[in-house]
Amino acid sequence: MKKSVKDLIILENECLNDDSHKIVFQAPDVDSDILPGQFANVLVKDSQTTFLRRPFSFYDVDVDEKSFSLIIKKVGDGTRKLCSVRPGEELSVIYPLGSGFTTPEKDEKVLLIGGGSGIAPMMLMAKKFAPQTSNIHILLGARSQKDHIVLDEFEKVGNLLLTTEDGSIGEKGYVTNHSIFKEISSFDKIYTCGPNPMMEAIGKIAKDNNIFCEVSLENTMGCGFGVCLCCVTPTQEGNKCVCTDGPVFNINELKW
């Protein structure tokens, strides 16, 4: 699918909890080429503090309805502003950008791990591959029960496992403390997106157990399509752009 910059009409803006909104965009040209891990770069209109676009991973793509949705967590002025958009208004979006996660094989046992706003690409991942396998396990971590969102959606697409730091739902602790890691060697592939410390810890476990592992990085971006060279991460082959060479990287490529 060609990249494009377009003004897209907002179909829905659903408040998921205090912090996060699901925003649905009408996108006449979406097709099934969009991969989990790819992202859209959204312009924040009418903000005195937000000059550059803001990147968000695709949470869902509906090829029939010609729409896609993002989950946006409010962390600063840009995301706050985006979360106040009203249906019918338009936002300028550049999409689809970046590389996606690789496709697991039919019979492989797969663990998807999402933390914070990193859960978004995990949904698209699970949805894309759920029809082909029953072996998808989804592990989501959050601070507390109220921070866990769209759980019912995730339950539909895989075996859902949860952790919370305060133990209010699921197992208590960080995702990497979850008991599933006791049987981690039974997994063929791990895919993860979330805060860097979480992904580094997961990457280490994967390496130790010789498991294929892809992570999706969230470096700050200037352009989102490979021309400013601001989003780089060090790799075995030197600095690479997270926006075009990634955001998805195999942990073996990174210098973790």
């Binding site: 910059v5 000059f51 700050t220 352009c223 400013c228 060279l229 601001c230 989003c231 780089v232 991460t233």
Partner: protein
């Protein structure tokens, strides 16, 4: 039909809209968004004799109406450019211009000699104003002697159009402009980024790995306009205006202040199709104001 073509030395640009180095990749990254052949020309990534890894992440900070960058000239070197990039780019018929940086005069010269051989590249833009590298870069651009030495040496080996890109981080930009004109520059382009800094108050740390970086975007437009106006009044060679141009109105302001052509930088990040919109906007403006030839806008400010 309005006439949009302008001349920079021996080169005729089909319109005055160019792209600024470091913000337009190698051009081909924009293929999905625009038809490159609609542009007056495009200036590609800053290139150096030897490959460079650039600075550590974070290299970018958002600032009021602008951004700081500290990329530090990450590129694979001039040979890689010539062998792997250049051949691909010859398919576009808009003028391709490479932006050349160096740490020593010798580096500049060796690379310029190589670039002189490229048939489909009518010009280079000599970057003597990069604030993000330790050696060379801006150091050359902030003194007349430094600027002169590089430009003179490159002029000896580079026979096509030589554009020299000036630093705004100087007391008197007209001095430097005159020095590079005297040393053989066929055109000057300005401004490169203003040296700036951003701090994360919560973390009590600088945001950039390099502490300081280069400011670009609308925030710098007033400074850029002033310098273009000053330099236009100080030299005879054509001036290329750069700095915070986001739309056709901005581009026209620069032309009125004396720019023969303009480069769009940071604007490409916000809207990758902006360059073509600026070409169209200039045309519209000319029609509204009954101006037949875009050259009539150059330096036409009534003061």
């Amino acid at each position: 039909m309005v006439k949009l073509a302008v001349n920079i030395d021996k080169i005729q640009l089909k319109n005055p809209v160019l792209t600024a180095s470091g913000t337009f990749g190698y051009g081909k990254e924009f293929e999905d968004f625009i038809d490159l052949d609609r542009l007056g020309g495009y200036i590609v990534k800053g290139t150096t004799l030897h490959p460079r890894q650039g600075n550590d992440y974070p290299r970018m900070a958002e600032t009021p109406a602008g951004m700081l960058n500290a990329v530090g000239l990450q590129n694979k070197g001039v040979d890689y450019f010539i062998d792997s990039i250049y051949p691909e780019l010859t398919k576009y018929n808009s003028h391709m211009i490479v932006n050349l940086s160096g740490s020593t005069v010798e580096d500049y010269v060796i690379a310029a000699e190589k670039l002189n051989e490229l048939e489909h590249m009518p010009a280079i833009e000599l970057n003597i104003s990069c604030p993000n590298v330790k050696e060379g870069g801006m150091a050359f651009g902030v003194s007349c002697a430094g600027a002169e030495s590089v430009v003179k040496a490159v002029r000896e080996v580079y026979k096509k159009t030589l554009i020299v890109k000036l630093s705004p981080n100087v007391t008197d930009v007209t001095e430097i402009a005159r020095a590079v004109e005297a040393a053989g520059a066929d055109s000057v382009s300005l401004i490169n980024t203003l040296l700036g800094m951003a701090v994360d108050a919560e973390k009590r740390k600088p945001i950039l790995s390099t502490v300081t970086g280069g400011l670009s975007g609308p925030a710098v437009k007033p400074v850029a306009l002033r310098m273009v106006w000053q330099v236009f009044n100080a030299v005879k060679v054509p001036v290329i205006g750069i700095g915070g141009i986001m739309n056709a109105t901005d581009a026209i302001e620069f032309m009125l202040a004396g720019a023969t052509a303009v480069e769009l930088g940071t604007a490409n990040f916000i809207d990758p199709a902006v360059t073509v919109k600026v070409v169209e906007g200039i045309e519209d403006y000319m029609k509204r104001h009954s101006i037949d030839d875009v050259n009539d806008l150059i330096g036409a400010l009534e003061v």
